[in-house]
């Protein structure tokens, strides 16, 4: 059972959230970056054995999007959204 800290609603069950995927860098401009960087932007995400930064949507709650750091080995949220209690 994973509880996610929502800045608006407080700590809520993961079942109320939709997963928004790992945080990606801003979209590169394919005309200015190298081909390698462009392919990396499109196809690669960090896959750490440890904390990963990701987006969640409190869709069955207040509707807010938030960003957390979660450890992929334990599901511990090692860093919550900046303004969560």
């Amino acid at each position: 059972m994973m509880n996610i800290p929502c800045p608006f609603c407080g700590s809520r069950n993961e079942a109320e959230f939709a997963f928004g995927g790992p945080v990606k860098p801003d979209r590169s401009d394919p005309n200015t970056v190298s081909e390698e960087e462009w392919v990396a932007y499109l196809t690669q995400v960090p896959n750490p054995l440890g904390p990963v930064q990701e987006r969640w949507w409190h869709v069955k709650g207040c509707g807010m999007w938030l960003t957390i750091w979660r450890d992929t080995r334990t599901h511990d949220i090692v860093e919550g959204p900046a303004d969560a209690e």
């Binding site: 069950n13 993961e14 081909e35 690669q44 995400v45 896959n47 054995l49 979660r70 992929t72």
Partner: protein, 430 residues
């Protein structure tokens, strides 16, 4: 003299043929005389090929290296115990109903190799060919499956649409999904090539066969990092038992690929996710097909012992865990009861999970990497069915340096050219 013969028993390859006569003979000795199925030899400091991971793909690759290419100076290094990874955790669905021209013939070949595996390895795989039936509840899904049917037809894989009535006759326990349901069932698709078998037998059968050909399996041998030479080539691997050298190294670690390849400075389009399953208590024969309900998000089959073996949707975030999240479990059960309400009475006995890596386009990656001599087989999301063909084709690549026809599209280069082999969505039934 005695010492020498003990050494021979312990270290020299040999294989006792399994047969009714052998069963009788050893039975008369109260089964105390069966020889070891594989040796436990000392670890050497160099081999021709190192395979990392004694799961299905690692073992099958070693088998085809030895059998098809005569390469036997091979070590399979396993962090835990042989066949204790995802090969022991999956729901054994074997099928070939994929979407792309690059995928279908590969899986058709794998299904065919599985059907012959009991004979090939002299080990009873308890192969049970049974049809897989998709229970379809939305029109987009039905259209997607019909599109697959057109391509599958080219390569001799079977898919056929059936009516709701035929579907309910085929699976009498399917009593939910009626006209008043939120998602009424609109039809079914039948894939007669599917089957299930016994996963331990696959691991043990390959292990016994490669051992007999001289390949060494080293359990409790964890690779900590990949070692490159001054010229950039792969030189060997650093393990908890020291440095082991080889000019060719194949990574077959399912789920941990990036953890290892990052030690050689590689970045790959893979992410690791958790997939889970659970089984019920054994009950009388009730369902004789593999039932896949892609719209509801679960699938199951009944094992020979009578248990319902049930799988659901993955946990969406990246995960290296091997348990099941409560809400994934509850969602899967809820979905199952919507179509099979009588399963409410089933007691569930065990649940578990595994972590697997999945590539950006959901197709496997079998290729030589930018590090010369370093090969990977990865992205096996639903790769139990792929073990025989995966081993066949990776061994071909490692031995000859050229990709096997059946896997020539599963390269790393495809990402460089953004030439995806898109199978996202077709892996939901595993």
């Amino acid at each position: 003299m005695l010492d020498l013969s003990l050494l021979i028993i312990k270290y020299m390859p040999m294989m006792q043929k399994y047969s009714a006569a052998a069963l009788l003979r050893h039975g008369l000795n109260r089964h105390t005389t069966w020889p070891r199925a594989w040796r436990c030899p000392p670890l050497k400091d160099a081999y021709d090929v190192i395979i990392i991971g004694a799961g299905g793909h690692g073992l099958a690759t070693a088998y085809h290296l030895a059998k098809d290419h005569g390469i036997t100076n091979v070590a399979v290094l396993e962090r835990g115990w042989l066949g204790g990874g995802n090969i022991a955790r999956n729901t054994v669905t074997i099928r070939s109903n994929y979407m792309r021209d690059a995928s279908i013939p590969f899986y058709v070949k794998s299904v065919a190799l599985y059907e012959e595996l009991t004979k090939a390895l002299n080990f009873n795989m308890m192969h049970s060919k049974r049809t897989m039936v998709d229970v379809v509840q939305t029109y987009p899904k039905m259209r997607e499956l019909r599109r697959r049917q057109l391509t599958m037809d080219i390569y001799g894989s079977t898919y056929e649409q059936i009516t709701v009535d035929a579907l309910r006759r085929r699976i009498p326990a399917l009593t939910g999904g009626g006209p008043d349901a939120r998602l009424p069932i609109i039809g079914g698709m039948v894939h007669t090539d599917a089957g299930v078998n016994r996963h331990d037998a696959v691991a043990w059968g390959y292990a016994r066969a490669i051992d007999a050909m001289g390949v060494e399996i080293h359990q409790q041998t964890a690779v900590e990092s990949l070692v490159r030479g001054a010229d950039g080539r792969i030189e060997g691997v650093q393990t908890n038992r020291g440095l082991v050298r080889a000019p060719k190294v194949a990574v077959a670690v399912s789920g941990h690929t990036t953890t290892l390849t990052e030690t050689a400075g590689l970045k790959l389009p893979l992410r690791t996710m958790n997939l889970t399953a659970f089984v019920s208590e054994p009950v009388k024969p009730l369902v004789d097909v593999i039932v896949n309900c892609p719209d509801a998000g679960f699938y199951f089959s009944q094992s020979d012992k009578g248990e319902m073996v049930i799988g659901g949707a993955p946990d969406m975030g990246q995960s290296f865990r091997r348990d099941i999240k409560q809400h994934v479990f509850e969602d899967t059960v809820t979905a199952m009861l919507s179509l099979f309400p009588s399963f409410k009475k089933l007691k569930l006995l065990r649940q578990w999970g595994g972590h697997l890596d999945i590539a950006h386009d959901a197709s496997p990656i079998m290729d030589q990497t930018d590090v010369p001599g370093l090969f990977i087989t990865a992205g096996w999301w639903g790769g139990y069915k792929a073990i025989p063909a995966g081993g066949l084709t990776l061994a071909h690549l490692v031995a000859t340096g050229r990709p096997h026809d059946l896997m020539s599209k599963f390269t790393l280069k495809r990402f460089r050219h953004l030439d995806y082999v898109m199978e996202s969505g077709t892996t939901t039934a595993r």
